[in-house]
Assembly symmetry: C2
């Protein structure tokens, strides 16, 4: 992360978001070492740790933990141009699926689309933006779909 470059990107307040807006990330490669490192720390199951042991499992080979895919998705979002005022702060997820396994050698990218924009009923300075964030591999196949509302600052306080 280069803070100077990042901080030069424009920040979006609730009023700047509109249904249908899309943001696309850069790409991030995933190798076997990264898959195993994450699994050792957070999801130590055979199909995330060892090629040989993974062969006889549901995945039929080494596959990234879904939570690793979720974490990589977050990194791609943070580095993208989708920059809510106040930061990317998850308020409520309502869908999280992993339609395909992430394999060693895959390259991930993220496309996120605004589904809904609404002010908070109780907090005049805040609102919620619901996004569908689809994580794609290098063949443009979805490997994760996340529908989540983020907490976003409003530009102006109503009088």
């Amino acid at each position: 992360m280069n803070a100077t470059i990042r901080d030069s990107k424009p920040v979006h307040y609730l009023e700047d978001f509109a249904v249908g807006q899309k943001y696309r990330s850069t790409r991030l490669p995933v190798d076997a070492a990264a898959i195993k490192n994450f699994a050792n720390a957070f999801d130590p199951q055979p199909f995330h740790l060892d090629e040989e042991a993974a062969r006889s499992t549901f995945f039929g080979g080494l596959a990234a933990s879904g939570w690793h895919t979720a974490a990589l998705t977050m990194r791609l979002l943070v580095e993208s141009d989708m920059r809510p005022a106040g930061g990317i702060i998850g308020a409520r997820g309502e869908e999280l699926t992993w339609p395909r396994a992430v394999r060693p050698g895959d390259e991930l990218e993220v496309e996120t689309e605004v589904l809904e924009v609404r002010p908070s009923g109780s907090r005049p300075r805040q609102g919620f933006v619901k996004f569908r964030t689809t994580t794609l591999n290098q063949r443009q196949e979805p490997v994760q779909v996340l529908v989540m509302s983020l907490l976003v600052e409003r530009r102006a306080v109503p009088a």
Copy 2:
């Protein structure tokens, strides 16, 4: 992980799960270094990286990434007695919230409850178990709620 000890725990097939069953994990401490390491790799935002910078944000101080909490929750589940046959394989999440921030010095534990058990309509060897997994801090306050269906193997194939 000690594979021998882990493998000595009983495995649960779809037929072994019933609505209302609960499993509880051991505890896992979270310190500032772990919060910053995760954030550097996956969620490099000021409120996850630096105490000083975090003070003026929504969180008012250093807080763990929600995806870090999710990953730690997974580790606690993998190490728990909730051992579905075939492994812990997420099929579909339908709720993910972080009601409270995880702070340096917190100790997390997980309670998971079976909400629903159903055979797969298309795959005779598989079914789905829906769990509500609540991650608690040392004051027994929820810091994450996840409702997710797991793919679970069936014991017997119907004739």
